[in-house]
């Protein structure tokens, strides 16, 4: 328990400021913006640009993963200081954050299946199905075409694979994502580049000091050509970018793009082996969240049930209502409320803590009902006998009733632990990179959902099974009822001898 508290303290204490720049992106959006490369290292042209900015500002870059849709709320609540993830100015977000000057500009690209000769531009897409990324520039452009059926996807990969397998007729993406996906996902081609979008960095509203620093650094990096070098290294130069930057340094070779291309064509097996460490790390996070969540659930559940059974009526009423509220609302709502809602009343929790608290509270409600059933299954004579021996109510519970109730409670407790391992995948929604998040990230940057999916499934099983075995053993050891059968097998002789 002490160690657990210490762990919590460390989590709270880890949010240090000072000479670091905490920046966020969604690695799930894949190459070339910010993603994990074949060696499980963070890569991408935006990552390189922000690192150059940090170098200019003499700050250490600290990377935070967050879902594309939650990048701005996370910024608002101070999880990180800046977003560097293909953000563009729109009607919706122009007042929500402070934007820097552009560091990149490009057109939008229309992607179709190779061999599709029908669609040449957006005009040909009328009455057809087109996939876009939610909250993206293409999404806004397509609003003007009422007769195009638009499908929103949380990441590029979903849209692209649906174009490939025929669920969609086309996809409209930003140029970098479109270009890299044609490398990774064979069988797609870009048919049209049009419109424009400018990528900006974003900081919290009112953080003028930081945006000033970033703008200064960006300007310098554009003037000395570093931005252009990075962009051309990734093979992302285009007329719009050239137009944006007055002084352009042309790069002959698109090194980074070539590397990406090489990785995609390298042996699959090697690729998966390289993935293992990143999955192992993620499995540890899943295990950490699950175990801590379960510890909170068991401890809190015990408190809840004791209050419910042995306290004054009005406290009992409050606890009953609280338990019903927790049991009757979705975990995902509780998670978002704790993570994004509580900061409004001044409680800002670190992601891991928020995840553990949400899982813990949610499961505590169930555990308290489990415990109640367990406590009530212990005959009332046990409590009476303990009280008659002069034990206080608490002592009777502690030494007599609870140990016996534990035997009844163990099987459902094991069940819930397996369930919590699986449900812990929800914490990926609040920037925690655990197994499920790693799966979607890896899969969408390698455009392979199959083998990584099997790896993740095996890992989830491997996490749960030891606990099932452990619980089985504990059940066998503790079971009171079963031991009565065992007793019958003890030869009667020993009774006689003893007497």
């Amino acid at each position: 328990m002490k160690r657990f508290l210490f762990f919590i303290l460390i989590l709270f204490g880890s949010s240090t400021y000072g000479d670091e720049l905490r920046w966020a992106a969604d690695t799930e959006s894949g190459a070339p913006s910010v993603f994990y490369d074949g060696n499980s290292q963070l890569a991408g042209f935006e990552k390189e640009i922000i690192e150059e900015v940090c170098k200019e500002l003499d700050k250490a870059p600290i990377f935070y993963q967050n879902d594309w849709a939650w990048l701005i709320p996370g910024l608002d609540h101070g999880l990180y200081d800046a977003i560097v993830e293909g953000l563009f100015r729109s009607e919706e977000n122009k007042d929500a954050v402070l934007f820097s000057i552009p560091y990149y500009a490009c057109p939008l690209s229309l992607l179709v299946r190779e061999g599709d000769e029908e669609i040449k531009s957006l005009e040909h897409c009328r009455k057809k199905k087109v996939g876009v990324l939610c909250c993206s520039r293409p999404r806004i452009v397509l609003k003007e075409y009422e007769d195009i059926e638009v499908f929103e996807y949380p990441n590029e990969h979903g849209a692209l694979s649906d174009v490939k397998n025929g669920r969609l007729d086309a996809a409209l993406l930003d140029y970098p994502a479109a270009m890299y996906s044609t490398i990774a996902l064979k069988g797609l081609k870009i048919v049209n580049n049009f419109d424009s979008v400018e990528y900006l960095m974003a900081v919290r509203k009112g953080n003028y000091a930081l945006i000033g620093e970033i703008n200064g650094a960006l300007l310098k990096l554009i003037q000395n050509g570093k931005v252009q070098i990075i962009v051309s290294k990734w093979g992302l130069t285009n007329p719009l970018f050239d137009a944006y930057i007055a002084k352009m340094v042309g790069g002959s070779g698109a090194d980074a793009r070539d590397t990406f291309e090489r990785e995609q064509s390298s042996s699959k097996f090697q690729k998966y082996v390289k993935l293992l460490p990143i999955f192992a790390k993620a499995a540890l996070v899943t295990l950490e969240v699950s175990i801590c969540g379960m510890i909170v659930a068991v401890a809190l559940g015990l408190v809840l049930v004791l209050v419910k059974l042995y306290s004054p009526r009005w406290i009992r009423f409050i606890v009953t209502v609280a338990v019903e509220i927790i049991r009757g609302t979705p975990l995902i709502v509780q998670l978002f409320f704790i993570f994004y809602g509580l900061p409004f009343v001044g409680i800002t929790l670190q992601p891991l803590v928020a995840g553990i608290v949400a899982l813990g509270i949610n499961y505590a409600a169930y555990e308290s009902e489990n415990f109640r059933a367990g406590l009530e299954a212990v005959p009332s004579g046990q409590m009476e006998a303990a009280r008659a021996l002069g034990m206080s109510q608490w002592q009777s519970l502690r030494y007599v009733v609870i140990p016996q109730a534990f035997c009844f409670v163990l099987p459902p407790l094991t069940n819930d632990f397996i369930a919590i391992i699986k449900e812990s995948s929800l914490v990926s929604l609040i920037t925690i990179v655990e197994l499920t998040k790693t799966y979607t990230t890896v899969a969408s940057s390698s455009f392979d959902f199959f083998i990584p999916g099997i790896i993740v499934a095996v890992l989830y099983l491997a996490l749960g099974l030891p606990f099932v075995r452990l619980a089985k053993l504990a059940e066998k050891y503790l079971a009171l009822e079963k031991s009565a059968y065992r007793a019958k097998r003890i030869p009667k002789k020993s009774h006689i001898n003893a007497q």
Partner: protein, 256 residues
């Protein structure tokens, strides 16, 4: 103990209701230190409730009980609930209770059953509790069984362990709530023998029982309860040979 002028147990005008129904009405009696008293009566007459009131497992509605100098009264429960609870707690520590269904702790061995209360309540050392526990198991003839769990011994043995467990708190008074009712006939005697031994050692014992023969042979006197009232208190032979009350007569005719 007998030099103590005060009776060990004084019950004055004790009443107990469950909702509207009166279970006990205006019960008064004294029990001297060292006595073995049987409470008999038909089923549902309130004799078990009376016993449970004595160690506050049931809270009395009216009247007062004074045991070994500790006073519990309905008045106190109204005026100072915390004080009442403290005294009830204190009282229970000096009274041993044995139940019809044994209520041994199934997750502990026989020795641990006996050691638990002294260690938890009295904060007695494990070593001392263990020594004392073994002595008590020996006293009820089960010393060789100390490592066993309750599920592996017979009913009569369980009840003997239950008595030993109650004795571990060094009580001044032992209460038995139908201690032999759940036992096979051939096991009754081994439990009664333990109680006889305790009586010989001077323990004050109050027994709610259907064992008329034991009540007759071993009791110092008998309280006959019917309909929540004490019908007759008398010397054991007297009540069996020539019951004064018509109701006692009827009851005993059925049992003897």
């Amino acid at each position: 103990m007998s030099e103590n002028a005060e009776p060990l147990i004084q019950v004055r005008n004790l009443s107990k209701h469950y909702g509207e129904a009166a279970v006990l009405e205006n019960i008064s009696f004294n029990i001297e230190s060292g006595d073995l008293v049987s409470i008999i009566g038909p089923s549902g007459c309130g004799k078990s409730t009376l016993l449970r009131c004595l160690n506050c497992l049931e809270i009395l509605d009216e009247g007062e009980i004074c045991i070994n100098g500790t006073l519990i009264s309905s008045q106190l429960a109204l005026v100072d609930d915390a004080m009442f609870c403290r005294r009830a707690h204190q009282l229970r520590q000096s009274i041993g209770m044995v139940f019809q269904s044994f209520n041994l702790f199934p997750h502990k061995t026989l020795l641990e059953n006996i050691m638990l209360a002294p260690m938890v309540v009295r904060k007695q050392s494990r070593e001392l509790s263990r020594r004392q526990g073994m002595e008590l198991l020996d006293k009820v003839g089960l010393a060789n069984f100390y490592k066993r769990h309750p599920w592996s011994i017979s009913g009569g043995q369980k009840q003997r362990v239950a008595i030993a467990r109650a004795l571990a708190m060094n009580p001044v008074l032992m209460l038995y709530d139908e201690p032999t009712s759940a036992l096979d006939p051939e096991m009754v005697e081994e439990v009664l023998q333990v109680m006889r031994n305790l009586d010989r050692d001077g323990m004050t014992q109050v027994i709610v029982s259907h064992e008329m023969k034991f009540a007759r042979d071993a009791s110092d006197y008998i309280i006959y309860v019917e309909g929540g009232k004490i019908v007759e208190i008398s010397d054991e032979d007297e009540i069996f040979i020539s019951p004064k009350d018509e109701r006692t007569k009827r009851f005993l005719k059925r049992y003897m």
